[in-house]
Structures are given as structure tokens and as C-alpha cells.
Symmetry: C3
Subunit: 394 residues, 3 copies
């Protein structure tokens, strides 16, 4: 609890000015705002562990729009909403329908009259997901300015084509805890590497989220993938700039071994090549079913050339003292468990399973922190009020 008090003090000392109603990309947030979200994540998690309620609303809706399937994020969002005192209401669109323009503007307002938060997942179409979120954001701003909406709901990106901020922020929370504080991350080497999986079309948002966030804390970040499996160029460029500014480093290599060498942290995870995702988006938009099948087959055959990109015990021996922290956003494709050959060997996964669970366990609190900071004009005062109320959860 001493630790908790210190975190509260740190939070109250931060400069929260300029915090917007949205959490769409981590790199749009100032260092202080990232720190605020992290500290609040830890504070909420700690309160929950101690049976304390951090309920902030008497009532209100938290709307979810899942344009792609999701179990974990869905439950994380429901957990966050519930803990804050909001009820989840899901907008069940036809998945195939990529609404734009008037429809988005109208729907965004129609569902928001009594909404305090909106969480959106839309990660399947390159160039679409984040753009859709910004259309919703503009519609909400307009509705609030016109007075149609009595309040501007917080808007949270639950994964788009560019970033997956609730994941990367949960990953960061795990790292802070594991290494004993954000100050200890300076100089740590993290390998964000592609890994083989007998699947196809996995989004780029997780690796992009990692390099887009971890390059801000003075870490040595290596992105590794087979040739042709690059990410969105703008995000790669941004990672390089951020690394420079934070006093860390960023490089892209085409070898898993090179990335693992002396790494403190490894994050082996499959994704589709940027070029394939672009082609796929066009085909999906035009409903070219046959061409999509062909693309998938070609892609799977091509993937299979890189089966050696697997996080095995052998590979782990290359890391710092052979003891790097293994991370994954889950579910991992585990060799001999979920597939014949996958991203990680059973023994490596088993050794770090508890850590991956803990990593995931931060997500509900990350989302709660994001909504809290976006929704309250004075989040510090609100937190103090909640702490002084000192209410048990049951």
C-alpha cells in the first residue's frame, strides 16, 4: 500500500493539461499523458486487488463496436466499464458493412445520447480502421458542440489497422512491474520479431503498437521479420525518430537470431506482410472471393518458408543470460499445442505462461484508465474523491 500511495502522489504531480477525449494512437499522447495512464492502471489494479471500488459513475453506457471478433478485448472492455460503473451496450453492425459519411455521423450520435464511453475494434482493413474511428470522433465532437449530445463520450481504440494501444499499454505495465519501474527500462533490449504461424492475415497493429510505444523510453528496440514482412512505413519511421529522441535505438533486421541476441525482452508474433494486407483490403472491399482464396493460399505457402522463425529454447539461449522475458498478446500459436508448428515451443511458453497472463491482466485497468482520463475534466480531483470515499467493492 505504500507503493500505492507513492503512485498516487506521482499521478497527482503530473501535467494532465491537453488530455483529449480520445485514445487512438499512443504516439499522439504526451509523455505525461502516457505516464498518467500507466500510473492510473497500476492504481486501479492495486485498488481492485485490495477489494476497493474505483467506481466513478453512478450510471452510464459504455458502447462497444466490434467490427472483428474478439473475446479477450471484449471482456477487458466489459470489465473496465463495469468497474467504472458503466453498463456495456454492444452495437452489432453487419461485419461486412463499412459504413462511412452520413451513416457514421448519424449512428455515432444516435447511440451516444447517454453514453460515457465508446470502444471500437476495427483492424481488418488497412487504411480503414483508424480512419473510421476518426470519423466517429468528428461526429461526436460535432454532436457535443451542437448540443445534441449532453456529454462527449470517451473514445477508445480497441485495436485498429495502425495501433493496438490497450495491448501495448498493458505490455508496458507488465514491463514496468517486471523491471521495477519505468526508469529501469532505459537501455533494455527488446526484440519485436515476426514468428511463423500456420495462419494468414493477422493484423499489423500489435508489432506497430510495440515499436510505436517502446521506442519512447530509451530502450534498444529491434524489429525483426523476413524480407517482405514489413510494417506500415510511416510507423517504422516514427519508431526511429522516437528512439533517437528518447536516447534509445531502433533497427530493423531480417534475422530472428540477431534480434534475440542479448535481448532482455522478446515478443515473437506472427503478422501478415504489409503488401499482402494492402492487396487483401482491396479484394475484401470488392468482395473478390476467388482472388482472396488464391491470395490466402499463396500467402500460406510463402509463410511456410519461414518455419524456422520459432521461439524455441535454443533461440532463448541467445538472449541475455538465456533469461529474456517472453511476451505475447495471446493467444499464441504454440507448437504441438495449438498447431503442429507455430510461434513458440511448448516449453518456452509454459515457462513464461504466468507472465503472459499477468500481461493480459493489465488490460482491463488500462482501458478503465483511458476512459477515466478522457471523460473527467479534472481526473486528479475525481481520483482523490474516490480514494477518500474509500468504498469496498463488496
Amino acid at each position: 500500500m505504500e507503493n500505492l500511495e507513492k503512485k498516487i502522489e506521482q499521478f497527482l504531480a503530473l501535467d494532465l493539461k491537453g488530455y483529449t477525449n480520445n485514445f487512438l494512437l499512443t504516439w499522439e499522447k504526451s509523455d505525461a499523458h502516457i505516464e498518467a495512464t500507466q500510473l492510473l492502471t497500476e492504481i486501479f489494479s492495486s485498488m481492485h486487488k485490495n477489494g476497493r471500488s474505483f467506481r466513478a459513475f453512478e450510471e452510464g453506457l459504455a458502447i462497444s463496436i466490434f467490427r472483428d471478433n474478439s473475446t479477450r478485448t471484449r471482456f477487458s472492455y466489459a470489465s473496465a466499464a463495469n468497474a467504472l460503473g458503466l453498463a456495456v451496450s454492444d452495437l452489432d453492425e453487419e461485419k461486412s458493412q463499412i459504413a462511412h459519411g452520413e451513416t457514421v455521423r448519424e449512428t455515432a450520435n444516435m447511440i451516444s445520447f447517454l453514453a460515457d464511453a465508446i470502444g471500437i475494434r476495427d483492424d481488418m482493413f488497412l487504411g480503414e480502421g483508424n480512419r473510421y474511428m476518426r470519423e466517429v470522433s468528428d461526429a461526436l465532437d460535432m454532436g457535443f458542440e451542437e448540443g445534441t449530445l449532453h456529454q462527449r463520450p470517451a473514445l477508445v481504440n480497441l485495436q485498429c489497422d495502425i495501433d493496438h494501444p490497450t495491448q501495448s499499454m498493458a505490455d508496458m505495465a507488465k514491463l514496468r512491474d517486471y523491471f521495477g519501474g519505468v526508469e529501469n527500462l532505459k537501455g533494455k533490449k527488446i526484440a519485436m520479431t515476426w514468428a511463423y504461424s500456420p495462419s494468414y492475415g493477422k493484423p499489423l497493429s500489435v508489432p506497430q503498437g510495440i515499436i510505436g510505444l517502446m521506442t519512447r523510453f530509451g530502450m534498444e528496440v529491434t524489429l525483426a521479420h523476413p524480407e517482405g514482412y514489413g510494417l506500415i512505413p510511416d510507423v517504422v519511421k516514427l519508431a526511429g525518430q522516437q528512439a533517437l529522441e528518447s536516447g534509445g535505438s531502433f533497427k530493423v533486421v531480417n534475422s530472428m537470431e540477431e534480434a534475440f541476441k542479448d535481448a532482455d525482452i522478446v515478443y515473437p508474433k506472427s503478422w501478415a506482410p504489409y503488401s499482402v494486407m494492402k492487396e487483401r483490403t482491396e479484394l475484401l472491399k470488392n468482395s473478390y472471393t476467388e482472388e482472396l482464396k488464391t491470395l490466402e493460399q499463396n500467402c500460406l505457402v510463402h509463410n511456410a518458408k519461414f518455419k524456422e522463425w520459432e521461439c524455441t529454447e535454443e533461440m532463448m539461449k541467445l538472449t541475455k543470460d538465456g533469461e529474456a522475458l517472453y511476451m505475447h498478446c495471446l493467444p499464441a500459436d504454440i507448437t504441438d499445442v495449438s498447431c503442429e508448428q507455430g510461434e513458440v515451443s511448448k516449453s518456452v511458453f509454459d515457462k513464461y505462461r504466468k507472465h503472459t497472463y499477468e500481461e493480459a491482466g493489465y488490460k482491463p485497468f488500462v482501458i478503465a484508465a483511458m476512459i477515466f482520463l478522457a471523460r473527467f475534466e479534472n481526473p486528479k480531483l475525481k481520483l482523490v474523491e474516490i480514494l477518500e470515499r474509500n468504498k469496498d467493492r463488496f
Copy 2:
């Protein structure tokens, strides 16, 4: 807030005796009960705008039964339930199954043991929707009388084949606000007119709801539609009687121009002809798929003869000072936006878009008011209690 206090005073002065547990048709409600629902809508909306909670339940379920798709009404209902302190639980029936008799009686009771409200949408089958609601109502009455149910849930019509009271009451709330009070509606001319849409089978409940409600306030109500697009004869007859009693007028014409002439308010909206809806209901009941397709095609071809029934700027010039209030239940079929040619031109819609959003924005509060009035033995006392509690929403 002065305005709010005045409304509270007015509400407390009303005669609420005889208010039943159901809100099925506006014309079953006394003038005082309609006024109570309107005032409470305004009071709740005002409280919400000022960040005040009007939560009335510590816990409880609000059950929804949507036999037809709905996004807006679904969210309005969820918003109303949540604001009152109830959790939504959706009964997901197979849409094709039109249960009757024992099944309805049993299911109605089985889902209601801890329910405080039930909202039903069932608007596709002429002669069915409202009848189904009354079966549910009877089952609930029986369950409560027998003691199986500890409480009689409020039953709210979220759109049936006859009326759409949550819509017409929201429309009314908008008119009261726009014209500065119900007393100013006397003598106002409203045109409820059919409009062209490249669709088929739209329910009759909106126009019926409008003529069934607006004829009670001394307004000059004109219903306009092409020949053959008549509404349920009983509702048309009722509208005439009510207009007579309220000191207003009601007429049916076959020209949009005639209806728009000098109108203070226009409500151009597509619907299917009564006769087609009757035929369609029979075909649907018997699952005559082929015949349904033929009916749809014939109907669309027939509709296309009336493409000039569009609310254009030209048409709007016919209205009072060219500045009538344009209303719509949304989503509207907007020419060049949602379709090639539709109910309203883009420029007219854009000019009044904000007003249509506000119109829709009353619906959550209308539903909350309906549940509140139906569920509490002494709604006045309950409101005073809530006002004195004076709790912030966050």
C-alpha cells in the same frame, strides 16, 4: 433551471390516477397522462444535461424483445433502462417464430420474476404486433395476480403494427421545445406525408403514431399520400374524431403540395400501402417466398410512379414563410446520399439535420418516463425523493 422547477411544479399538479402499467397506444392515455410523460421527459432530459442522476432503482432488469431489427430504439431503451438503474436483458427469439398462447404466457412469466420493465418491438405483421403485446400484458397481469410475480413489470411498446409511441412522443417533445410550449401548438399546421423511397414494406406505425397523437392538441393535421397508400382505417377515423374534440382539424389529401402549403411542420416519410402490408402479412405467415418476391417487385415498380413525392427545396418554399420545421424519425432516405432518389433532398436534410438529431435525442428520456410512470405507485413522491437526493451522475 427555473424552467425545470416550473416543469416539476406542473408535473406535481397533474392528475396521475388511473395510469396503467402499460404504454401501448398514445390514444389509450388521458391528456393528463400524456402531459405527465412529456413533462417527465423534459425533466429527465434537463437533469441529465445538468449531470444529475435520476436513477430510480437500486437494481432490476429491463427486458427487451426485438422481433425486428433496430439500432436506435435498442440504444434508446438501453439508455433509459441504465439511467433508471436497470440492466438490459435481451430475449433473443427466433425472428420467424410468432409464438402465441401458452408459449407467450409461460415465457412472459419466466423472464419476469425479477423484471421491472419489458420493451417490445414487433412491427412487421399487420394485426400481430399489438396483439402480441396484449398477450404479454395479460400474462403479466395473471402472473402478478397469482403471486408468481412479485411485481408487475412496466410494458412499453417500442413500435408495433399500429403505433410507435416512443417515436411520436419524442416528436412531440421536440415540437414543444421548438415552438416554446404545448400551448403554442394550437393552430399549427403539420403535414404528415408519404414520400418516395426505393424500399418496400416500411411499417405504417410512424404516420399512424403522428396522426394519432398530433390531432389531440388543436393542430391542423394533414395526412397526404398517393392513392392506395392509406393507413389502417380505424386509426384514420380516430384522428378525425380527436381533431374535432381538440378544436383542430384533420384531412386526408392525395397531394404532397397541398399538404405542404403553409405548413408549420412537415414530416415526409415513406411507408407501404395498407393493402400491401395485409397481403404481405399473409404471405409471410405462410412463408410464400416466391409470392413475396413478386409482391416486392410489383410494389417497388408501383412506388416508382411517385418519385416526385420528395421533400425538396422547391417543396419547402410552399410552407409557411418557406421555413417549416422538417421532421423525420431517422434514418431518412436522402437523395444522392443514401440512395439515388429518396424522401428528401440533401440540402433540405442538411438544413434541418440538427433538429432531427434533437428529435431523436428525446427518445431515451421518453422511454424512461414511460417506465417510471408505469412502475411506481406514486411517481410524484418518487420524483420528489430523487430531486431531494440531488445526486450527481459522476
Copy 3:
């Protein structure tokens, strides 16, 4: 209310030590724990009837996993969760997917970070449902011990292949009320008998739940079914042992008449033969669609040989004074109502309909009691706290 106070006193006097976080099979629970659940069911029901809140949580999630369709149990669970202050979040698995091993362990943890209860229905596959629940239970224990989960959610069996404890406990609550106390059940004769229904593949869990629970109270329990329609042998054996220990009796007969003779209570209900369920499970696992159709047809033809197994007025005359209590878990297959010929005649059902509704009405409170007892370290203290709080539900 005097009655309520007596029940509270009795509850507070019980030995609740050793109550686990799970309610999976009634026969795993001690007599004191069964009595505690029954008393709490009555206390909660009574409080609800009197408009008192028994909310126990400020917030929290109650997760539901329905691997089979369900309306009644779904609403009972939602009602229980809501009354305790929890929000329902449904895990919507693909129904066909019978996950095991790593996936179950991971998913169970991923959805439980902020969960206070998990309810599972999985009754279609012999040897699978209960086993799945125990896998979830082990995963939750592990997660809690490792510290990944801040709390161990209560786990409630909402029907498996072996038992249907929320149903049998609701049935028991009805019997206690009907006969004026559990002490009056001693010596009462109950006939749990198979009945004809034009359906196929109904689970065995209801009859197994009844003989597994009712044999513990000194009742004379008769299980009746046509030859070949036996239940899981282990459960039948257990029923015999329990009857012996409780000073009652248990026998299996192949005649509905024999079972009805002098019965105080009859429970006529269709189920599939154990052997068919075993074969069906294998075929389903292997997706043998054709063989499943053949099995269904054969089974329906075979069933039809036992159409005389119907609870008619004639049959009821055989019971104690012709006035035995008719019970059913609902929905019943009623002759001339839900089918041409079914489990029970219309006149018998109508006479006892109100009783079957009341029987069902206990289920929300049974589930609430199960969660309450499983989740709180000191349920007595918690109940006293709730009673002293003395809060109205609205």
C-alpha cells in the same frame, strides 16, 4: 416477516465451514450446505417480495457460458447476477467447438480478471459437460493461486450432462414451501418418471438431479422409465445409497402406473436413453451427420412405442387422494397444446400450472444463493450486513 426472521436465525446457526467456490453437483455438498442454500433462497425471495435489496456487490461481472440454448436459465442467471449487483457478460463460443486443455485454461483466466461469478451450461455431451466445468474450475484455482486473478470467481453449474442443480434446488424450494418445511418431506413419495414426447435427445440431467437430491431427505423416491431408458449408472447407484442413509427408499421400476401409485409428488418428463446419448455423443464429436439423422429417426420411432407414458387425469387418480403435486422443469410437452401427444394432458397441466410457475420462480434466488455462498468468506456476516443496511430496491 416472522417467518423470515426464523429462517435468518436458522441460517446463522448452520455450519458453513468447507463451502467451496463451486456448485457443480448437489451430492458434493454437505447437508448443512444444501440447507444453507435453501434457506438463503427463501430469504432472498422473501426480501425481493418485500421490495428489499439484497445487493452484495458494488460492481463486478457475472460471466455466462451457454454451450446450449437456454431462455429460462439465462434469465434466471441474469436476474440473480443483477440482484447481487453484478453485470452479466456472455462468452459466446462457437457452439460446435469443444475446447479443452490450454485453450480452456487460458480463456477461463482471460475472462475472469474482474469476474465474481461464472455460470456454465453444457449438457449435450455425455462425459463432457461436467468435465469441462472442472477444467474451468482447475484453471481458476491455478490463476488465483498464482496471483493472476485477484479473486476466485464462484462457479455455478447451470446444467451439465450429470446434474442440473439450479433446477433440482428450485424444485426442492417449491416442495419445502408446498409441504410446509423440509421436515415434512420425510416419508413423502415422489415419482420421477419418464414421459413420452415427440422429441429426441433431451438430457438426463433433470431426472438425475432429482434422484440425486430428493433421496437425501427421507423421501420414498421411485424412478420409472421404459426398459432401455436408464440414467447414468453411477448416479442411480448413488441415489440408492443416499436413500438408505437418509432413512428413505429408492427403487427403479418400468411402469409409470407403479410409480404414480400413492405418490405425493409426480415429475413426468421425457429424456433420451443413456445408451442413445452415449452413441449420439460419439457421432456428434465426429460430426457424423448422416448417422445422427438415422439415430434420431430410430430413436423417435422407438419413443413412439411408449406414448401411453403420459400424465393424464386417469393417471393422476392413482396418486395419493388423486391429488399429488405435479412438477415440471418447463417447458412441458403438453398434449394438444405444444404437440399432438406429449408428457402431460392439458387438463392436468392447467390444474398445476401456477405451481410449475412458482417452482421456476425460485431459480433466480437459488442461483443468487449459490453465488453468494461461494463468493463470500463469511456469508453470515455479509447477510447480517445486508439486513442491517435495510435498503429498499427502489
